[in-house]
């Protein structure tokens, strides 16, 4: 619990709780147990308008838009998709 016990002169202090997400230390994976997270700005770093998300085998990665008219194309299982004509 982090409580210090003293006899004559004692200060009992609990760890400082957090009230803001910015103060929350991210120290572990988190199972959201089916609850939703909405209005997420990005899941991969540096996302911009038109980017889509795919799994690269390790983490979610952004795929930037292709040139106009290109189509999202798969390259068999285990490979990253690309934009191509």
């Amino acid at each position: 619990m982090g409580i210090l016990h003293g006899t004559s002169s004692c200060i009992l202090v609990r760890p400082k709780p957090v009230f803001k997400l910015s103060e929350l230390k991210i120290d572990a994976d988190k199972d959201w147990r089916g609850f939703g997270i909405t209005s997420v700005k990005e899941v991969a770093s540096g996302m911009a308008k038109g980017d889509i998300v795919f799994f690269n085998g390790a983490v979610l990665e952004r795929l930037v838009p292709g040139t106009i008219g290109t189509m999202l194309t798969t390259h068999d299982f285990g490979n990253d998709p690309t934009w191509s004509l």
Partner: protein
């Protein structure tokens, strides 16, 4: 002296105040039900203007098609990028297909039998005379066949693809990018002019190459009294096209109709809402009243002149 300081902490995520972006420092977030609001089966996640948004699944057989950097991709019919495979106008006038075949056969050969059979010891009157003359003059066998056909069918007309840009503009000058709406099949999501409604309402439709025909699916034909005019950008001003043929009747006819005009020789690209294309604009030049606002569903530029 004994001092106890106890500050109540949070125990549930619902108590956490979300007040900032958060770098998750490479840690995973797993088992998420959704990222964007109201996701359904088959939806994918795309970065929108500022946050992640859902892109609903497209119709069966459609492919995810890029609209270029900085723009939202959309589901389009497979082969929608046909123009990139055939970046030329296609026109075939096969005037050389005229073929004349003359079959002439004259079978007038006479068939003649002139045989005499006689027995050497037979009297003359026993001589069998087979002197029949068979002659066939088959005049009817003369046949003249004149096979003539002309294949001047134009090939490749009306090969069209969805437009590259669509922008509505109110008389007050407020522009709205409706490109994605013009490229998908969702009904009545194009605010055709007059949308305010007023004179000087405008609707821009652009394509990466010059085009002299536009197909548009008017989901809701407008009702009222107004007139529109088709214009193009000549490098210094918007000017009226020549020989305008508006089968939508100023967007009052519902269904898929075409707009035709003569290809302007001085048509040049210009930039509307960041999209540099060959643009035509439909501008409301007179307005009396409106009881039903016209709404569009989808628009295509014709690749072939």
């Amino acid at each position: 002296m004994s001092l106890l300081i106890e500050i109540k902490g949070i125990t549930r995520l619902s108590e956490l105040e979300i007040d900032a972006d958060k770098d998750w420092q490479g840690r995973g977030i797993i088992n998420l039900k959704q990222l964007a609001a109201l996701m359904s089966k088959g939806d994918i996640v795309v970065r929108g203007d500022s946050v992640l948004v859902r892109l609903p699944a497209g119709p069966d057989g459609y492919v995810l098609t890029s609209a270029g950097p900085g723009k939202m991709p959309s589901w389009q019919p497979a082969g929608g990028a046909l123009k990139y495979y055939f970046p030329v106008d296609i026109g075939a006038a096969q005037s050389g297909a005229k073929v004349i075949v003359a079959q002439l056969a004259l079978e007038t050969g006479p068939v003649v039998t002139d045989k005499k059979y006689a027995y050497g010891d037979s009297p003359d009157d026993f001589i069998r005379r087979l002197e029949g003359l068979i002659s066939t003059a088959k005049d009817t066998s003369v046949a003249t066949v004149n096979q003539s056909y002309n294949k001047n069918m134009p090939v490749g007309r009306d090969i069209s693809t969805v437009v590259d840009g669509a922008v509505s503009e109110t008389a007050g000058g407020i522009q709205t990018d409706e490109t994605a709406a013009a490229r998908n099949e969702a009904a009545n999501d194009l605010n055709l002019c007059p949308m305010t409604p007023a004179v000087e309402d405008k609707y821009y439709l652009g394509f990466s190459r010059k085009f002299r025909r536009l197909w548009i699916n008017v989901g809701t034909g407008g009702a009222g009294n107004w007139a529109n005019q088709i214009e193009y950008w000549n490098g210094s001003a918007w000017v009226s096209v020549s020989n305008e043929d508006d089968q939508t009747s100023d967007f009052t006819m519902s269904g898929v109709s075409r707009m035709d005009w003569d290809m302007p020789a001085d048509w040049v690209q210009t930039t509307i809402m960041g999209m540099t294309l060959y643009w035509i604009r439909i501008r409301t030049v007179s307005f009396v009243n409106q009881t039903t606002a016209p709404r569009g569903t989808q628009a295509w530029a014709c690749l072939v002149t």
